[in-house]
Amino acid sequence: MDPVYDVEPKKSKILQALEDKDTSAQFTDPLENEMIINMGPQHPATHGVLRLLIKLDGETVVTSVPELGYLHRGYEKLAENCSYHEFIPHTDRLDYISPLMNNTAYVLAVEKLLGVETPCRAQFIRVIISELARISSHLLAVGALGLDIGAVTVFMWTFREREKLYDIFENLTGARFTTSYTRIGGISQDMTDATKQMIQDFIDQFPAKLAECESLLNRNKIFIGRTDGVGVMSRENAIAMGFSGPNLRASGVDHDIRRSNPYLVYDELDFNVPVYNDGDSLARYYVRVNEMKESTNIVQQALDKIPAGPVHAFEPKKVLPKKERVYTKMEELIHDFMIINFGVDPPVGEVYHAVEGSKGELGFYIQSKGEGHPWRLKIRSPSFMNLQSLPLLLQGRMISDVVAIIGSIDPVMGEADK
């Protein structure tokens, strides 16, 4: 039986005009020209599983609604049910472009809660891995921005550099992506001289390689045309919307947590913070490129200054002991058993610790009730807050600018969805 319609489907006004051959017909009804496009969650230019609903008037974006949650794994719930050490591997999966940065950020928050101070060598190693992770992340951001707007070669060249970085990470941590390198009160294993030499070799050749990538883009008419003046974020809006990291600095706000609230040994290192005032996609690109140069500089200084010494704090009840000592010493066996089974014993309290992550302010807010696992752990993920401004940036732009703007914001959905 055919379905019965209450209302006869209305014939489109355009179709009617075509049938009547009426050339004087005008369409003032906005819905006639408007179209809603669904972009993602499976789309190469959305940098993951971001879904965008875009309302278009012709080719101009009227409004857009980002939909998140396609990669929501509930890490905050999981964190409440595992010990502080057990959560470290989960942090790899947040911003999977720079896992070493997340490892560092998380253990710094836990160490602040516990009141543990890491030895100097471990702090220098953490600075080195954070900056290498930043280079790796920015290389992807620059390469993918180029890819999104048609410059495929840059993507290949930046990925060649990232491959070298992944070789270093594999040598240092034993894994390419899921590093889980840091531990509470230290790092999992010390950096060997061979790894140190690899890092030195990398940063020796990196500035020249970066200049090659830059030479493909900086004077490229198409690249500049696609990004200059596109997706402008004003200084006031950037602060009100919680922009952070390179995106905030591209809008003229001179704010870098490494300098304003130094953690680790950043106050002993000399580096510049690139700030641009334009607030457009091109400025965000320039901030990232210049930050990579500064990161190279920081790694070089850290390699020169890194002292010898232990990489674990002497806090037997909080820091996991070495395996060979667990097998041979009674005391360490007991501590290992207690830490693995019941967790460390933090005080009652709450801390928030933020680091300057590669995407922006990466913060961990931890509430402790004195148990071996966090009572509440909130991840302040920069991608989540940065993506919030997307409708503001897209409004009034052309449909082809959408990919250029998403690429310049550099979201990672593993972090935005948690």
């Binding site: 929501h72 602040k112 919307m241 928030y352 509440r376 302040r380």
Partner: protein, 189 residues
């Protein structure tokens, strides 16, 4: 936990390690000044001030949170103009079960300040601070999605991550870790 009136400084009894006491004197006095100023401007709103690991947490009366946030943002001595983070938490206590935590940052003085409001299971409404910081919209949506806290004044209070037809609030302590079977309908073939 929640003082009816008056203002008390409580310091947790744990031992602070030296590295976290490296705060310069002027920064510390700046925060003290902010607390004093809040106390004189909003005598009834500031319920308690806590300090732990050199971080200051102020408990604010729920009704006044928008006024306090607006004051902290605009006052020339405070200038907490940047909302780092907003989140909810479930304390799982008979009263004042839920709390909303605001982590503020001052781009001028480079200081952090944490505000906190409490709300009950019987009254899940908290005023939204989107009028102060437009960027509070998504964190508030997330807190609504995860804990069911309703932010009055948020124009787009939908679920952030979970599907709209989902009935539970997963970050509540009474929601099981394994989830609730059949709570999310699978797409039909």
């Amino acid at each position: 936990m929640h003082r009816a009136s008056g203002y008390t400084i409580t310091r947790d009894s744990c031992i602070l390690t030296p590295v976290f006491l490296q705060l310069e004197f002027d920064k510390r006095s700046m925060l003290t000044k902010v607390v004093e100023k809040l106390k004189s401007e909003f005598p009834a709103s500031l319920l308690e001030a806590k300090e732990f690991r050199a971080e200051t947490t102020l408990h604010i009366r729920k009704e006044d949170i928008v006024a306090v946030c607006g004051f902290l943002r605009d006052d020339p001595d405070c200038r907490f103009d940047y909302l780092s983070d907003l989140c909810g938490a479930d304390a799982y206590t008979p009263e004042n079960r839920f709390e909303v935590i605001y982590n503020l940052y001052s781009l001028a003085s480079k200081q952090r300040l944490r505000l906190k409001v409490f709300t009950d299971e019987t009254d899940m409404h908290v005023p939204s601070v989107t009028s102060v910081w437009a960027g509070a919209e998504w964190p508030e949506r997330e807190a609504y999605d995860m804990l069911g806290i309703i932010f009055d004044g948020n124009k787009d209070l939908r679920r952030m991550y979970m599907p709209e037809e989902f009935e539970y609030f997963p970050l509540r302590k009474d929601f099981p870790l394994m989830g609730i079977p059949d709570s999310i309908p699978l797409p039909r073939k």
